[in-house]
Amino acid sequence: MEPIPAPPIDLISLAPVLVLAVFGMMVLITDLFIGKDKSVLVFISLTGLLMTAISSLAKYNLPVYSFNGAYVVDHLSVFFTFIFCISSALAILISVDYNKREGINVGEYYSLILFCTLGMVLLASSTDMIMIFLGIEIISISLYILAGIQRKNTKSNEAALKYFLLGAFATGFLLYGMTLIYGSTGTTKLAIIAKVIGENKILSEPLMLMGVVLLIIGFGFKVAAVPFHMWAPDVYQGAPTPVTAFMAVGPKAASLAAFYRIMSETMPELSYSWETLLCVVSVLSMFIGNLGAIMQSNIKRLLAFSSVSHVGYLLIAIIAKNSLSSSSLMFYMLAYAFMVFGTFGIVILLGRKGEENLELENYSGLAYKHPVIALTMTIFLLSLGGLPPLAGFVAKFFIFSAALKEGYVILVIIAVLNSAISFYYYLRVIVFMYMKEPIKEFHISLTPMTLLVIAISAFGTVQLGIFPDPIIALAQAN
């Protein structure tokens, strides 16, 4: 009997994933031997993330395909690995003081973040639908637990359950879509699917089109695009704030990277079938996200809706499907990571035990008591809105130029009008901070780790806004 031929396995290209897995388990084991003080775990996790970032550079002469074309190390995956490491590191740093305050005293927390990061790296590097599915599942399961990590808090429980139910539902769609595509092309490898499509055999096969639609629905759930966004505000509000920030950046970036690979890289010839659909999803995400955010009085819900609108902008990059779209996606996600962690850092700083102080009113008069914090918050919010000279502006400029290059003028006009709408609610927060009198005393404990995250994020936001050149050059290097 012939032995089953083993595909060539290139473990070095898998280095970031392996490093993350090892460190994740190390955190779990160490947790058994230490007492109440979990700061060792923080240290181990951060070291792990640093090692991951370094190990992602192990391969040069990109792209390198391994595992029989199921896993790739290319420019996109390396850049995204860096984004994941930065965002996870910021998430861990931001959690240190928060966890103490809220009494989240479990070591799994940090290992779950590492495992989730593992899933993201895997997802951003997969070129096989099975691998993509695995990546998504690793991310999702870690997030379900993280969202409900405050076992005694009913809101956190509700968020976790809601997220789990809807997420499982979405996974079903995703898997079904993949099955249909497999059915019509006979393979799960993206490269071969692209070839089959290129040979023009299945262009109008209903099975394929159905599969694409189901994929869009599945990914739409994962990135919280309208009309599949209903879970986002509740989950964002209920989950512990650092987890919310973490969810808003890394997993979203990973899903978008995979989405980009499937849509723009694999199926550009099929774009007549998915382009319009994706345009509708993008436009709806922008409008519903922005209009929804206007109504909110809770800062976490406001940011949840704002993140829905940002997905709308990001989808434009996927729709553009040209040489600029992957690099604009990278730049946007990096800028977005800084903005989101900065904003949530300040939300954590102002929050009180038991998730209090999250209403916009609680920000009244902040500028007069803590001018520097108010100023940094202003920077983050204006950057989210896309005002120069901040990172958000350069990121939007990038995406819009990718889209205009392909002639999507109307889409870009809708997007800029949405930016104008978004200014309204970002300004509302600024109005509270600067133009209202304080209603009560602020009891802000300036915890060092949270301040560090805010400082890093502020630096990143301003740096990427004023001197974006090095990062743009990196993003466009391929």
Binding site: Y368, T378, P389, V409, V416, S419, L427, M435, A473
Partner: protein, 520 residues
């Protein structure tokens, strides 16, 4: 480099102010003033060193900024921007002196003003579209904060309205900028946002020119503001603190007219010609409507705000006369409006500081208790009307001359604005200064103090200087306007009739003649 230094000097001052403790009120004010004065004095050297004979950019400085996208930090001044630049530093200085009495969060106030100054100066020197947009949006934030924190009772509403109006317009301009960025890359193979390069090399058919023109038009028309995009202006002006109004009227509105001259005319000359009638009529509506609405205002500041709509209508119709007189007149009227309206806002602010009301009916007979104030007010009011011998006359005369060459009808309609201006200003003046002093609250009002005189007298000097001897001002933009007209001359686009010549146009009148006309 000098220009960059001057532009960022106020920002440097703002950063320095953050280091001064909040309680050192005196030190804060003096530091802010010192930076503003230095900036003004140094910027005057730009004027004295300015080469009047060329249209080329001067004091140019260019370094690569975002090389991956071909974006440079490229700055420079030409005849269009020089005076606006100097006026910005000048009015910033005046505003800081005028804000001496502010007590609420004085340090943050001065920081906002100095940052605003850098933003405005940056707009006038940017020669790269990306950089221009950068500064254009940057100055929004400090102005928004100034209106929103130090403004009147409805300040939040006014500030948000101001911000959103401007943001909507400028975001569409951003789309146009990216579109041009892509177009120039396709046409020449060079990916750049450099304005000089694009102005020289961009060749567009009429249809895209029109769309792009409209995108830029919206951004600038909101800023100017032209009818019907003016509704943010009265709110912003009425709610803004006095110095905020001065800067708003004196400089921010000029950024709109400047944008038309820097972008719309040279980039889209054909579209400019096509849209000329539309803009002329909108301007005329603005002139007449602004004047009529001013006539019925109860609030002094609102009256001045609406008069701005009317005056800026003149500037716009002058620019879109698309000939030498019109554009020259518009440029000088830009400066005049900054001086006259700025001074009017200062004067209204003084009376508000004393009485905490601006209702016209609360006043009457002020001439008896405040003689110095009345004299100053009268001079400024007359200059705003455009009395010969004062600055307003030079600008309006040139503009009307230019407009007349295009259409007598337009000129006639626009001229009515001058008459209405006399009505609303003089009627207001009469109700406030003359008549009986019947309100007992007005009986013991102190007259202007030295600080207030210091803010007003330089403006009065300028009123007469431009009115009687405008040559030093007019000379600065002569060459630039000449060059601009080579490209945007309407004759380029008119269907040529065989045998026709353009000799019917009036012979060029030299500036000296106008000055002489003024003397008579």
């Amino acid at each position: 480099m000098y220009l960059t230094f001057l532009t960022f000097l106020p920002l440097l001052g703002a950063i320095l102010l953050t280091l001064i403790p909040r309680d050192e009120v005196g030190a804060i004010k003096q530091t802010a003033l010192a930076f503003a004065v230095t900036d003004f004095v140094l910027s005057v050297f730009l004027w004295t060193n300015f080469d009047l004979t060329t249209h080329e950019m001067q004091f140019e400085y260019s370094v690569p900024w975002i090389t991956s996208w071909g974006i440079n930090y490229h700055v420079g001044l030409d005849g269009i921007s020089l005076l606006l630049y100097v006026m910005t530093t000048f009015l910033t200085m005046i505003s800081i002196i005028a804000s001496w009495g502010v007590t609420k969060y004085i340090r943050e106030y001065m920081i906002a003003f100095l940052a605003l100054s850098t933003g405005m100066l940056g707009v006038f020197i940017s020669l790269d579209m990306f950089l221009f947009y950068f500064f254009w949006e940057f100055q929004l934030v400090p102005m928004y904060i100034i209106i929103g924190v130090w403004g009147g009772p409805r300040r939040v509403y006014a500030a948000v309205k101001f911000f959103l109006y401007t943001a909507v317009g400028s975001l569409l301009m951003l789309v146009a900028i990216i579109w041009i960025y892509k177009a120039i890359e396709e046409q020449t193979g060079v990916a750049t946002t450099d304005l000089i390069f694009i102005t020289e090399n961009l060749e567009l058919p009429l249809a895209p020119q029109k769309w792009l023109f409209l995108a830029f038009f919206l951004a600038f028309a909101i800023k100017v503001p032209m009818f019907p995009f003016h509704t943010w202006l009265p709110d912003a002006h009425v709610q803004a603190p006095t110095a905020g109004s001065v800067i708003l009227a004196g400089v921010l509105l000029k950024m709109g007219t400047y944008g038309f001259l820097r972008f719309n005319l040279p980039l889209f000359p054909h579209a400019s010609y096509e849209f000329m009638p539309m803009i002329a009529w909108l301007s005329i509506i603005g002139i007449v409507y602004g004047a009529l609405v001013s006539l019925v205002q109860e609030d002094l500041k609102k009256l001045v705000a609406y008069s701005s709509v009317s005056h800026l209508g003149f500037v716009m119709i002058g620019i879109f006369a698309l000939n030498h007189y019109g554009i020259q007149g518009a440029l000088i009227q830009n400066i005049n409006h900054g001086i006259s309206t700025g001074a009017l806002f200062l004067l209204v602010g003084m009376i508000y500081d004393r009485r905490h009301t601006r209702e016209i009916k609360e006043f009457g007979g002020l001439a008896k208790v405040m003689p110095k104030y009345t004299v100053c007010f009268m001079i400024i009011a007359l200059s705003s009307i455009g009395l010969p011998g004062m600055n307003g006359f030079v600008g309006e005369f040139l503009i009307l001359l230019g407009v007349f060459q295009n259409s007598g009808m337009w000129a006639a309609c626009a001229t009515s604005g001058v008459i209405f201006a006399a009505c609303y200003i003089l009627w207001m003046f009469q109700r406030v200064m003359f008549q009986k002093l019947d309100n007992p609250k007005n009986e013991n009002l102190p007259d202007m103090n030295t600080r207030e005189l210091i803010t007003i007298i330089p403006l009065i000097v300028l009123v007469f200087w431009i009115g009687l001897y405008p040559k030093p001002f007019m000379k600065t933009f002569d060459a630039t306007v000449e060059h601009l007209l080579v490209k945007v001359n309407p004759d380029n686009f008119r269907p040529v009739k065989p045998g026709s010549s353009h000799s019917k146009h009036a012979k060029l009148i030299k500036i000296e003649d106008i000055a002489r006309l003024n003397h008579q």
